[in-house]
C-alpha cells in the first residue's frame, strides 16, 4: 500500500515538520505574545513549544498504533463510518481555513510593507499558483524542496542577529514580571505558530525507519521550531519595549528595517523576499494536507486533481476579508477549529484507541 516511491527519511521528516511550522509566525508572533506576557514573552513561547511537543506526541502515539495507515484511513476505525466522515470533513475545513488565514496575513504584510497598491488577490493568486505546482506531487518531492529551502531559515536568523548590536539587555528584566497567568495566556496565543506538526498525520506511514526514529525526528523538529521562535521573540524583547510592540505588528521586520550594512540598506526587503519562500513552504504543506483530506473524503487515492479546486477555495477565503476586524474574526474561528482538531481530537482518539483496543495488527514491514 505504501509505495516505495513516496518514502522519506526521518531527517527529511524533521525538516518537513519544521518548514510547515515556521511560517507567518516569524513576523507576527513576538507582538502577539508580548501583548499578554510583556517581557517574559520568550518564556511563554518556550512553554508553547512544550505544549506542542505534547500534542505531537499524541499524534505520534496514534500513528504508531496504525502502521502503514494515514490518519484518514484509521479515523473511521476509531469513530465509526458516519461520525468519522463528519470529523474528516471538519479536518478538511480546518486545513482550508488555516491556509486561508495564513495567506490573508501574508497578504497584509505585503500590502503594508511593499506593495500598497497592488491588489492582494493578485499576489495571493500567484502564491497559490506556485504552491499548486508543488503540491500536486507526492510527499517525497515536496520534502525535497523543503530540504532545499531549509537553509533560508538560517539566513533569516542571521539577519536578525545583527539587531544584537543595539540590543538593550535590561529590557528582559525583571524576569517573571508579567506574572504566571499572563505567561500562560501568551503560551496559548503562541500555539498558533506551532501548528504544523499535524503533517505527521499524513507523513507517518511514509517514513523509512522505526516509530522511534519518527518520534525523534518529530521532537527535534519541534525543538528546533521552539528555539527559533523563542530566539526571535527574545530578540524583540531586547529591542523594543512592550508599549512599542503594541504599536508594531511585525517587530522583526521593523527591527531589520533600520539595520544598515555597507553593501545594502533596507535589509527588510531582502528579509521579506526570503520570508516569502518560508511562507510558501507552509502554504504548500497546508495545500497538500487540504487536498489530501478532500480527495480521500471522496475516496480518491491521488490528490493531484483536487489541488487546484482546493486552492481556488483557499484563494477566495483569503481575499474575502478586507479589514482588520474580519481577519480577527476569521482567526478566532480558525483558532477554535484548530483547537478542536489538533488538541481535543487527537487526545480523544488516542483514548478511544486504547480503551477500545482498536489498532492495526502489526505487519512486519521491512523499512
Amino acid at each position: 500500500m505504501i509505495k516505495n516511491k513516496e518514502r522519506i527519511t526521518p531527517g527529511q521528516l524533521m525538516i518537513l515538520i519544521v518548514q510547515t511550522q515556521i511560517g507567518v509566525g516569524v513576523l507576527f508572533l513576538p507582538s502577539t505574545v508580548e501583548a499578554k506576557a510583556y517581557n517574559d514573552a520568550w518564556i511563554a513561547v518556550i512553554l508553547g513549544g512544550g505544549a506542542s511537543a505534547a500534542l505531537l506526541l499524541a499524534i505520534w502515539a496514534l500513528g504508531r498504533r496504525f502502521p502503514g495507515m494515514v490518519f484518514f484511513d484509521f479515523l473511521p476505525l476509531l469513530m465509526g463510518k458516519p461520525l468519522g466522515k463528519i470529523v474528516h470533513t471538519i479536518y478538511a475545513v480546518m486545513f482550508i481555513a488555516e491556509c486561508g488565514v495564513i495567506l490573508a496575513q501574508f497578504g497584509d504584510v505585503v500590502r503594508d510593507w511593499i506593495f500598497s497598491s497592488t491588489p492582494s488577490w493578485m499576489i495571493l493568486g500567484l502564491m497559490l499558483a506556485v504552491s499548486v505546482y508543488m503540491a500536486v506531487e507526492n510527499l517525497r518531492f515536496i520534502t525535497r524542496f523543503f530540504v532545499l529551502t531549509f537553509i533560508l531559515i538560517f539566513v533569516l536568523i542571521l539577519i536578525a542577529l545583527y539587531a544584537y548590536r543595539e540590543a538593550e539587555w535590561l529590557y528582559a528584566l525583571p524576569i517573571g514580571n508579567a506574572g504566571f497567568l499572563n505567561i500562560l495566556k501568551g503560551s496559548a496565543l503562541s500555539m498558533n505558530s506551532f501548528y504544523g506538526f499535524e503533517i505527521l498525520l499524513f507523513a507517518f506511514p511514509f517514513v523509512q525507519g522505526s516509530s522511534r526514529s519518527v518520534l525523534k525526528a518529530g521532537m527535534y523538529a519541534n525543538l528546533f521550531s521552539t528555539v527559533v521562535y523563542a530566539f526571535l521573540v527574545f530578540t524583540c524583547v531586547l529591542v523594543f519595549t512592550p508599549l512599542e510592540l503594541r504599536l508594531i505588528p511585525q517587530p522583526i521586520l521593523y527591527m531589520v528595517k533600520a539595520l544598515s550594512f555597507t553593501v545594502f540598506e533596507r535589509a527588510d526587503l531582502y528579509f521579506l523576499a526570503i520570508w516569502t519562500v518560508v511562507v510558501l513552504t507552509t502554504v504548500m504543506a497546508y495545500l497538500y494536507m487540504a487536498a489530501k483530506s478532500v480527495s480521500s473524503l471522496f475516496g480518491k487515492s491521488r490528490h493531484a486533481g483536487t489541488v487546484p479546486v482546493v486552492a481556488a477555495m483557499i484563494w477566495i477565503l483569503a481575499i474575502y476579508p478586507h479589514d482588520q476586524d474580519m481577519i480577527d474574526w476569521m482567526q478566532r474561528i480558525v483558532s477554535a477549529l484548530t483547537t478542536l482538531t489538533l488538541v481535543v481530537l487527537p487526545t480523544l482518539l488516542l483514548v478511544i484507541s486504547y480503551i477500545r483496543k482498536i489498532e492495526r495488527k502489526e505487519q512486519v514491514q521491512k523499512g
Binding site: M127, M134, R144, F145, E265, L269, L272
Partner: protein, 514 residues
C-alpha cells in the same frame, strides 16, 4: 466552434502516397534461390533500380558467381583485394576458405542481405547455391580525431569523437579496458536505419535503467533518426522542461568517466557526440578541467560555475527590481550615481534590459556564422562601439550595460552548450517577474524554477541530486572536487550497483595498512 476548428486545420491534408510506389519489406524476409539472376533481379527491384547498384560477374571454380554492391558506399579497393583477387586466383569451392575478410556472413534471407548492401557490404551469389555471402567492404571517410572545438579543456586529452561509430567505440574501449564494458547495437529510424550503440559497464550500471533506455529506444517509430539530437528528444523525460536531461559530449574522456560512475552512453553513426544518461543537474557543471587540476583549484572553479548559474538567472532581474521598485536598497554612495545614470532613459528598465539582452543574443548568434577573419572586428564593433553609442544616445544606461555584460559572461561559463541555452532562457521569465512584482516576483519565479528542478527526473533518478534529495556525501564531487584518494564512493544519482570505487588510499600515495 467547428468553424474555428476548420479555420485552424484546413491546411493539413492527409498525406497519401500514390499506390504502387511505396513498398515495405515483407515481414518474414525472402529466401534466396539458387538462381543468381532471380536473386539479383529481386535486389534491383527492392532498391528501385538505383544506378549505383553495380554487378560484377565472374567464374570461380568453374561456376558462375556474381558480386553485387552499391558503388557509392563501397571501397572498390577492398573489393579488389579482399574478394575478387583471392576468388579469381583460387580453385577452392568454399569461399569461406578463400576470402580473407574478417566480417563475412553467410545468409539465406535476401532482405537481410539488402540491409547489409545498404551499409556497404558486397553480396556474393553463386550458381545453384541457396546461400550467399555478405562481405564488409565499406568505404571509410573520416576526419581526424581532433579535440572538439566547443569542448576544449586546458589540460587533459585532446582527442574527440568523430562521425564514425566504429572509431568512437574504439576510443571508448581504449579508455576502459574492463571486460564488463558491454555494447548493444540498434538500428534506428525507419528510413535512416542509423546504427547506434548503447555502451555501459555491466557490473555497474543499474540494469533497470539500461532496460528502460532499451525500451525507450525500441519504442521510437520514426522515419528520421539521423543524429543524436533527434533520438535525445524522443527518449528524454520532459522535452518541455528548460533543463537538458541528457548530457551530450564529444570528449571520450568525459564519456569514460561517466561510464565509470554507472551511466550509459549512446553512440551513433554520423554523430560526433555521445549521449549520456541518466544525467543530473550537476553533471552539466562538471568539466574535465576540474579533474585535471589540483583539488583546491578544481573546487574553486566548480563553485564559481555554480555561482554563475545563480548570477545568470538573477542578476538582470535583481537590477530591474531594484531600479523599478526597491531603489532604497542601493547604498548611499552608489545611489546618486546610479540615479544620475538612469534618469535620462525614457522608458522603464524592463524594456531597456530586454533591448540589451536581445542585442547580445543577436550578436552571439551572428558571430557563429561569421567567417573567421571578420568575426574579430565584428566583436569589437558590436561590443565597444555599439555599447558606447547606445549609452551616449540615451537608449540604455551604463549600469544596465554592466549588468548585461556580466550576465552574458556568466552564462557562458557552463561547460555544456545545452545548459548554457537553458540558463539564458530562464532569465527572461525571472526578469519579467521582477518587473511586475519586484523582489517578491523574483522569489516566486525562483521558487517555481527550483520546484521544477526538484520534480524533474532523468530516467528515474532525481535530477537535482545531491542537493534535493540531500546527500551531503555526494557533494564531494558535485559542488567541490575533493582529491581522488578521498572519493571512496561513487555518487548515488545514476544508481550504480557498486558504490565503492577506491579502497583506503591516503594522501601521499600511501595505502592503509591492515
Amino acid at each position: 466552434m467547428g468553424f474555428i476548428k476548420r479555420m485552424l486545420t484546413n491546411n493539413r491534408k492527409e498525406s497519401k502516397s500514390p499506390p504502387g510506389i511505396t513498398r515495405r519489406a515483407p515481414a518474414h524476409g525472402r529466401r534466396a534461390t539458387g538462381d543468381i539472376a532471380a536473386n539479383v533481379e529481386y535486389v534491383h527491384d527492392a532498391l528501385f533500380h538505383t544506378d549505383d547498384l553495380q554487378e560484377r560477374s565472374f567464374e570461380q571454380a568453374d561456376r558462375p558467381a556474381l558480386l553485387v554492391y552499391l558503388s557509392s558506399v563501397c571501397d572498390l579497393a577492398k573489393i579488389h583485394e579482399a574478394i575478387l583477387k583471392p576468388l579469381l586466383n583460387s580453385e577452392d569451392k568454399d569461399p569461406e576458405r578463400i576470402i580473407p575478410a574478417a566480417d563475412m556472413r553467410r545468409l539465406t534471407d535476401l532482405e537481410s542481405g539488402i540491409e547489409l548492401l545498404l551499409r556497404g557490404y558486397t553480396l556474393l551469389f553463386r550458381h545453384e547455391r541457396e546461400e550467399f555471402y555478405a562481405i564488409e567492404t565499406a568505404v571509410i571517410v573520416q576526419r581526424s580525431v581532433d579535440e572538439p572545438s566547443n569542448e576544449k579543456a586546458v589540460q587533459g586529452a585532446h582527442n574527440g569523437f568523430i562521425e564514425s561509430l566504429h572509431v568512437n567505440l574504439q576510443l571508448v574501449r581504449r579508455q576502459i579496458g574492463s571486460r564488463n564494458l558491454v555494447v548493444r547495437r540498434y538500428s534506428l529510424g525507419n528510413m535512416t536505419k542509423t546504427e547506434a550503440s548503447l555502451v555501459y559497464l555491466n557490473d555497474l550500471a543499474d540494469p533497470e535503467i539500461v532496460e528502460d533506455i532499451d525500451q525507450r529506444l525500441r519504442a521510437i517509430d520514426a522515419d528520421n533518426l539521423m543524429n543524436g539530437y533527434l533520438v535525445l528528444e524522443y527518449i528524454e523525460d520532459r522535452s518541455f522542461s528548460p533543463f537538458p536531461q541528457i548530457l551530450q559530449t564529444e570528449r571520450p574522456d568525459r564519456v569514460a568517466a561517466n561510464l565509470l560512475e554507472g551511466r550509459v552512453a549512446l553512440l551513433m553513426e554520423g554523430t560526433s557526440a555521445a549521449l549520456l544518461m541518466p544525467s543530473s543537474f550537476f553533471v552539466f557543471y562538471q568539466s574535465p578541467d576540474d579533474y585535471n587540476s589540483r583539488s583546491l583549484a578544481g573546487s574553486f572553479i566548480r563553485l564559481l560555475r555554480l555561482f554563475s548559474f545563480l548570477i545568470t538567472i538573477t542578476l538582470p532581474a535583481y537590477y530591474i527590481a531594484v531600479v523599478s521598485f526597491h531603489y532604497e536598497v542601493i547604498p548611499m554612495e552608489l545611489f546618486y550615481q546610479i540615479k544620475g545614470s538612469v534618469e535620462r532613459i525614457p522608458y522603464p528598465p524592463i524594456l531597456e534590459a530586454l533591448f540589451m539582452e536581445l542585442t547580445i543574443e543577436l550578436l552571439r548568434e551572428a558571430s557563429i556564422r561569421l567567417p573567421t577573419p571578420v568575426s574579430q572586428s565584428i566583436g569589437i564593433v558590436g561590443g565597444l562601439v555599439i555599447g558606447d553609442a547606445v549609452v551616449r544616445v540615451g537608449l540604455v544606461s551604463y549600469p544596465m550595460i554592466i549588468v548585461v555584460a556580466l550576465t552574458a559572461i556568466a552564462s557562458f561559463v557552463v561547460p555544456s552548450h545545452e545548459m548554457s541555452y537553458s540558463v539564458r532562457l530562464l532569465r527572461f521569465p525571472v526578469m519579467i517577474a521582477a518587473s511586475m512584482f519586484g523582489f517578491i516576483g523574483i522569489a516566486f519565479c525562483l521558487t517555481a524554477i527550483f520546484v521544477h528542478l526538484c520534480k524533474l527526473k532523468s530516467f528515474g533518478t532525481p535530477y537535482f541530486a545531491p542537493v534535493a534529495p540531500f546527500r551531503i556525501l555526494d557533494w564531494k564531487d558535485a559542488l567541490v572536487r575533493l582529491p581522488y584518494w578521498k572519493l571512496n564512493e561513487r555518487p548515488n544519482d545514476p544508481r550504480p550497483q557498486k558504490l565503492v570505487q577506491e579502497r583506503r588510499s591516503k594522501e601521499g600515495g600511501r595505502h592503509d595498512q591492515e
